[in-house]
Subunit: 283 residues, 2 copies
């Protein structure tokens, strides 16, 4: 595995790969890798010949009062994990190279990104789209793999690829969970033992929603109420930020849940913000 | 010459060209081609092997009260001109393919684009950058050629290429003028004989500025005053929109004109909006 730090080196590698008839698969990350990321790398390996993972904690997607400074970082551990997963190139650009001091261009979206996390984190998806557009142009991948854990992010990126005509295929990998159901996240490292125990109720609330839909109780309002009620009773330190029952492509709210509908939840536990979601299966 | 109308066909052609070791040169236009455009095609031919010209009258860069509907169009004539200039592919996408009904992603810039034409045409450069980003991803060029006539557009696009890391080299071709000095523009077709005669004074005002700088009268305010005074006396139907004396890269106003400084003017004559500019040479 090679560590790459400059745009020009990264572009040369991708161009050479394309000229050799190889497909470039790309997994953009903010590092502090966990099994969720590794599963995305596995998906990339299935569909591409040359695997690039980027590690870049993107400052523009963090709000002024968010956790940019304390976001967990461990490049040496990430290197070992990437090497062990057969990553060919680890792309690790410097913040000053990615964002020159007089940077003034951005990519934004005004439909898919407006609700859910977009409502509570103004500017977040502008930061995400801008850095993903930049990374796509630096890495020139044929496919890029994102995690379903950030369901809205995946939908917003798919919309950008369509609307800006990026020649990149987006693959979305399923959520990877701990044995007890907690969705894997780099931010789980912030949780105390008690917070972690309570955090399990996010997934349990989604499971409750799923069982309601299976039982024919598909009204969005009733599902939201039942989920909130469960969290209120079982996890008193969880402060829900939203529960969204939406079309999985447009992120538009729907009145009735059902097959293909996304149920997403965001909540704070102590100082940590966690998200989880589930796409309703056949009922 | 081949006429291409779909993104997938265009991308395939560029990929095949790259795989064959050929450089793709791209000249994006809104059609109704004149010698200015043809000079840009000539520049592309000098630096690339495969020449793509796009014709797309981009609705998102026109304001609600601007001239989108009456913008001149003549595809058959444009085809003949492109063929005669050795264009390999004429890319002519449909508006509905470029902008699906639920389009929601855009590219914007907030420094280089804020003054000059950006001040008088809100949303214009957002439309320009969005369509140029889309066209770059559809055409996948190695170099793209723009005209110096739209000096601010060229500067804003260069900034986008830098800030979104597009793997495209931007070449800017000099203004092509009629024998009497009028800068070539598709919109010149709107001018009556009298308006056209008055429009010549835009270039003459720029020449006055140049001679003042050569004579050591370099204060921006004095130059602007002299230019406005000339127009007021000689071309009473010209309504200046702005005169800008700015750094040619950042578009920031400067107090003193001098080598490399851009002097740009925009004005209305009847229903037509014209722009012209000059970069100060060695003095």
């Amino acid at each position: 595995m090679q560590l790459i730090t400059t745009q020009s080196a990264m572009q040369s590698i991708s161009r050479d790969s394309h000229n050799a008839g190889l497909r470039v698969g790309f997994v953009p990350t903010m590092g502090f890798l966990h099994e969720g990321h590794l599963s995305l790398i596995g998906l990339a390996r299935e569909q591409a010949d040359v695997i690039v993972v980027s590690i870049f904690v993107n400052p523009t997607q963090f709000g002024p009062n968010e956790d940019l400074d304390r976001y967990p970082r461990d490049l040496e551990r990430d290197k070992v994990l990437c090497e062990s997963c057969g990553v060919d190139y680890l792309f690790f650009p410097a913040v000053d190279d990615v964002y020159p001091a007089d940077s003034s261009v951005f990519v934004d979206e005004n439909k898919v990104s407006s609700g859910l996390c977009g409502a509570g984190r103004p500017g977040h998806f502008r930061g995400v789209l801008t850095v993903v557009a930049k990374l796509f142009n630096m890495v020139l991948p044929d496919i890029a793999v994102f995690g379903q854990k950030d369901a809205q992010q995946a939908a917003v990126i798919k919309r950008m690829v369509r609307d800006l005509n990026f020649p990149v295929e987006i693959v979305v990998g399923p959520i990877v969970r701990e044995d007890d159901g907690l969705a894997m996240s780099s931010r789980n490292t912030f949780l105390s033992a008690d917070e972690r125990a309570q955090a399990l109720w996010l997934n349990k609330a989604l499971q409750l929603a799923e069982s309601m839909v299976k039982d024919g109780n598909s009204e969005s309002l009733a599902i939201e109420f039942a989920m909130l009620n469960l969290l209120d009773k079982k996890a008193h330190d969880i402060k829900p930020e939203y529960i969204a029952i939406v079309d999985a492509t447009s992120m538009k709210p729907v009145n009735m849940a059902g097959e293909g509908i996304l149920i997403a939840i965001a909540a704070r536990i102590g100082k940590t913000r966690l998200i989880d979601n589930m796409i309703m299966g056949e009922v």
